[in-house]
């Protein structure tokens, strides 16, 4: 009777039935389950970390309590990830620019796929590669830096003869996070409105000036978000570091080219966990909790940055 004047904004609705309710319920249940798992990860780690936190300091590995045990590991984790980001961010942005604005249109898709292959290679294989290919090739470089740049604390030496140094580990991490930074930057660069770019070119800008004036300002939050996602990956990377870094427990040093390095949290867990029991396991889980909280914070901020851009970009 009155249906002809029904408001147009109402979405089409199907009849609610038992099947509908069951299906909708299980779909929502699956979504909630994911939230529960994330909460569960935090809860179980806390539960298993508590015995280490309350134990007498002497019984914790290292003999000085949990914080002095985790501290140097956290330092090593952040240091390796920082090296990776310093190397990978400019490189990743340059590669994204190459793929979106320099490479021939026909080749660009294929070349982008090749860069994505870097992300598909398992991390343990990167570790293998780091040991036999990268580390030995860097040894002469470390000798050179020790001789000529030894006055800087980073290159104080003595230079490692195996090449299994913090700098090598950072470079391996850089290769691993490169595809992440490239992929996110590429996505943003490709979304720069054509009008912005053409306006810059019409004013007589060269290609680089166009990129500097139109592309980079538009893509800034994408670059930041991509770098932070790369940071999250670099912080949690395990096996590659466990293989290429020669560590000595409890070290805190900025010396990047010697063979005494702080380990990282993830690598330390991977190396110690299989032979640990009792309170040692709890201590390792406590360090895992610290890693979880740090990466969680980094990822939350990174996603917020990336999503904020999506809200304002006008591309959708």
């Amino acid at each position: 009777m009155t249906t002809t004047n029904a408001p147009q904004t109402q979405p089409p609705r199907a009849v609610r039935r038992l099947g509908d309710r069951l299906f909708a319920g299980s779909a929502r249940g699956a979504g909630v389950l994911i939230l529960l798992v994330l909460a569960g990860v935090a809860a179980f780690l806390v539960i298993d970390a508590v015995p280490a936190l309350v134990a007498p300091a002497r019984e914790v590995p290292g003999g000085r309590g949990v914080l002095p045990y985790v501290g140097p590991l956290l330092f090593g984790t952040v240091l390796a990830a920082a090296i990776a980001l310093v190397v990978a961010t400019p490189l990743g942005v340059a590669i994204a620019l190459f793929l979106t604005h320099y490479a021939p249109r026909r080749l660009a898709t294929g070349l982008a796929y090749v860069v994505d292959l870097l992300a598909a290679i398992p991390s343990i294989v990167y570790g293998f590669w780091g040991i036999v290919w990268l580390a030995p090739r860097l040894v002469p470089f470390y000798r050179w830096t020790e001789a000529h740049l030894g006055f800087l604390p980073f290159f104080a030496g003595p230079a490692s003869v195996t090449g299994k140094t913090m700098f090598t580990a950072g470079l391996v991490l850089a290769v691993m996070v490169l595809p992440i930074i490239t992929a996110i930057s590429r996505e943003v660069f490709a979304q720069v409105p054509t009008l912005h770019r053409e306006a810059a070119l019409a004013l007589g800008a060269t290609r680089w000036e166009m990129i500097r004036m139109a592309v980079l300002p538009y893509g800034r939050s994408g670059i930041i978000g991509g770098a932070m996602l790369g940071l999250g990956r670099a912080l949690g990377e395990t096996l590659a570091i466990a293989l290429v870094l020669s560590v000595s427990a409890g070290t805190v040093t900025f010396n990047l080219i010697s063979s005494t390095n702080p380990s990282t949290i993830a690598a330390n867990i991977a190396l110690q966990f299989p032979e640990s029991s009792g309170i040692d396991v709890n201590t390792l889980i406590a360090s895992g909790l610290a890693l979880f909280l740090v990466t969680l914070a980094v990822n939350v901020i990174a996603r917020a940055v990336v999503n904020r851009r999506a809200d304002f970009s006008g591309a959708n």
Binding site: A14, G29, V37, T206, R207
Partner: protein, 358 residues
């Protein structure tokens, strides 16, 4: 230059004479880099310079020479533009170095033991030569299969909720946290699964199923993201047509939406499996390693390919060379598996994509 005609018709040069200067011909860049190569190779190679350094120095020298040349014959802005072009292309070339060297190293070191014995035998009673990864290959297949069995239903239902049912706050929270979950370090997922199973089976537990749970924590969010994107691509007209015929919503999803999206979902599953099949860290803490063949994921330690490769390389025993060879072959097999899965994913999306022809 000698511009005599048309000076009245063309606009006067605005930017300090930048237009009066010439432009380098297209072949100039090639010529500059060619000369740089000849120079560096001519001086460097007799002096014992490594080939990689020759390429590196050629790139640096060529870039600088081109910049100076352009600065002299063209103008500052064009010179900067050329400099950036060289840097950007160089960055891409630099990124190819690890990929190519990695593939070369793994293939050349791993191909030697890629024989029948590697696929047919385990490591029971093997000291030194011989032995294989039969137990590890099947362990990886079983655990990855279980992971997919856990992750695909949960991930698919979550994606359906987000696309078809979800609204308001819960949807936003789930979307955001799924994104965040893709960034959980794999070792943390392993610790979570260990802690979960340690409650039921006591400390020191090592089970195949625990590894599958750990990998599911990593795989589910990846699959949710891709499934969500695919379901969003299903045209709304199809849903509306079904509703108009009186089809209940759940049957619309099952009979209309999912079949339309099946190719994309297949691609998503394959890529998500490729993502977790090479994970080492979570399996290291939850499943451990064994030399014997154990194909029961509910009964004690299992061998998996990545963990097998890790222990063969780091604890090779005496003499070490045979175990190290096995480690490289396992790494080669892993890369081959991941690449094959990536290719399969592309083929699925190409051949099973819905025909939209009209």
């Amino acid at each position: 230059m000698s511009q005599t005609t048309g000076t009245l018709l063309s606009p006067p040069p605005v930017t300090g004479g930048s237009r009066r200067k010439g432009r380098l011909p297209r072949w100039a860049a090639w010529a500059v880099f060619g000369t740089a190569l000849v120079l560096v190779a001519g001086i460097g190679l007799p002096a014992g310079l490594a080939l990689a350094l020759v390429v590196l120095f050629t790139g640096v020298l060529g870039t600088l020479a081109l910049y100076v040349l352009s600065r002299v014959t063209e103008n500052r802005r064009t010179a900067t533009d050329r400099l950036v072009t060289c840097v950007v292309v160089g960055a891409f070339a630099l990124a190819m170095v690890p990929l190519l060297s990695l593939v070369y190293e793994v293939v050349s070191r791993g191909i030697g033991r890629l024989d029948g014995e590697f696929f047919n035998s385990s490591l029971v009673g093997v000291i030194g030569e011989g032995g294989g990864a039969y137990h590890a290959i099947f362990g990886t297949l079983i655990i990855t299969g279980l992971t997919a069995l856990i992750s695909v239903p949960i991930g698919l239902l979550t994606a359906i909720y987000l696309v078809e049912y979800g609204s308001g706050r819960l949807k936003k929270v789930i979307t955001f946290l799924v994104d965040v979950m893709t960034g959980i370090p794999s070792i943390v997922a392993g610790l979570f699964a260990y802690a979960l199973f340690a409650i039921f089976f006591g400390p020191g537990v090592r089970l195949g199923i625990a590894g599958a749970v750990a990998l599911s924590v990593l795989m589910t969010p990846v699959f949710v993201r891709s499934a969500e994107e695919v379901l969003k691509l299903v045209p709304n007209e199809l849903r509306e047509a079904a509703y108009a015929l009186g089809v209940p919503k759940w049957r619309t999803v099952v009979k209309i939406v999912l079949p339309t999206a099946v190719a994309g979902l297949g691609t998503g599953v394959t890529l998500a499996v490729a993502r977790v099949i090479g994970e080492t860290a979570p399996l290291l803490v939850t499943v451990g390693i064994t030399n014997a063949t154990n194909l029961n994921p509910f009964d004690g330690r299992m061998a998996t390919l990545p963990v097998y490769a890790f222990y063969q390389l780091t604890q090779p025993g005496v003499p070490p060379e045979f175990a190290i060879d096995r480690a490289w072959t396992a790494a080669l097999l892993l890369i081959a598996l991941v690449m094959a899965l990536n290719v399969v994913a592309r083929l699925i999306s190409r051949f099973f994509a819905p025909t939209t022809g009209r």
